[in-house]
Symmetry: C2
Subunit: 262 residues, 2 copies
Amino acid sequence: MDGDTRRSLDPGEARQRIRDGHAGTTSGWCDGWAQANLLAVPREQAFDLMLFAQRNPKACPLLDVFDPGATGSGRFRGDITTDVPAYRVYEHGELVAEETDVSGRWREDLVAFLFGCSFSFERALTEAGIEMRHTAAGTTVPMYRTSLACESAGAFSSSMVVSMRGVPPHRVPDTVRVCARYPAVHGAPVHIGDPSVIGITDLETPDWGDTPALRAGDVPVFWACGVTPQAMVMESRPEFALAHAPGRMAITDIHESELVTP
Amino acid sequence: MDGDTRRSLDPGEARQRIRDGHAGTTSGWCDGWAQANLLAVPREQAFDLMLFAQRNPKACPLLDVFDPGATGSGRFRGDITTDVPAYRVYEHGELVAEETDVSGRWREDLVAFLFGCSFSFERALTEAGIEMRHTAAGTTVPMYRTSLACESAGAFSSSMVVSMRGVPPHRVPDTVRVCARYPAVHGAPVHIGDPSVIGITDLETPDWGDTPALRAGDVPVFWACGVTPQAMVMESRPEFALAHAPGRMAITDIHESELVTP
């Protein structure tokens, strides 16, 4: 399947391809449709997770919350246990498995949360003529733990995870302006410039993703990242959690045009 | 206390005046600070309420959710059981009391939710030169039950309650534009024009508030209203709930400048 085909799939077609065996990235799939970070936790922890999301909207922008036990919703008209290319399974905060189908692990008390994903604002930046260096280099965006604390909620606390993109200095204001209009997919950056200010000691060794593909003169720009909920699971150790594998997202039926602010 | 004094109070001063006995409206108080609709429900129902709010952001725009049992938060640095001018107490959906202090009724399992209030967008409209007819007439804005259904969540369902303001035809587009930038305080209108389209049979007899003060030629414009959570309580009958009395709001430490979209 070439790039044009991937881009022109509608969400239902894309989920069918994934059910049929696609286990890789969903980057570049389904132009115009929002992709999402997945985290499912037991009903017992669901209120705390919702509170955590409400208090940390940049890291955990809520796109949808399913009814307890439900594997789909009006905004995700598929099966969340089979229609994501790859899943991570956590028990007491430990990553215990990575699988392409978690229908056998689903429980009636699980509540699925979908959080906005940077793919949507990357598309907006690219359309504004701001190149995504990692896309041009064919790599995954670098992600870092930071010294920025999320606001705690009940059993849940975490430091914020950020993604980093290099931007030429004269496009930094445009970068902020364009992303700020998409609060549902992380919104405006959380930091611009010196990585040490937010506790990142070495830009060359990210905690997730690939080594940065910066060009000479690029300013490092940092966004709250949808990996934060998984960092929170690792830190707060709920009994059980399911998440997507990085870069292999849930493709929703939410059109990106719904996510832009007026 | 005259209008200028009321307007220039900061939130802490205003809450002190309320603790000291003010039991009337907070309309016109604390220029620039967001006021909020209050609903507190038992922890048992809190996830469903959060889900209801997430699915109905125009009627229930979440400004803050306190920790279970907490009577204050970083965004409301007062005591929610004493610092609202008047409260409504609901048992199994029935209004059983209206009181000016509910500290004796507070329970450790209650979770307080604050929802955005139309006062903030009314100020923005007034600044844009769009007169609030009810304010000019010294009355309360009229509110109506509608045939618009909110999306249900767990135990909670409700029809949407709307408020109505008359706007001269040439200012209707500006009205939409200005309000749309405040999604945290109900945002853009949900309907413009013929009331019967949303199930309102008689504009002259609102379900809450006063008879409308329309001028000749005014177009009726309808917004999702923060009374919706109370209508939901009446319809869904949770065991216990506390709410503010209409027009007597919780004055928060959230500045309105934080609520405007980029």
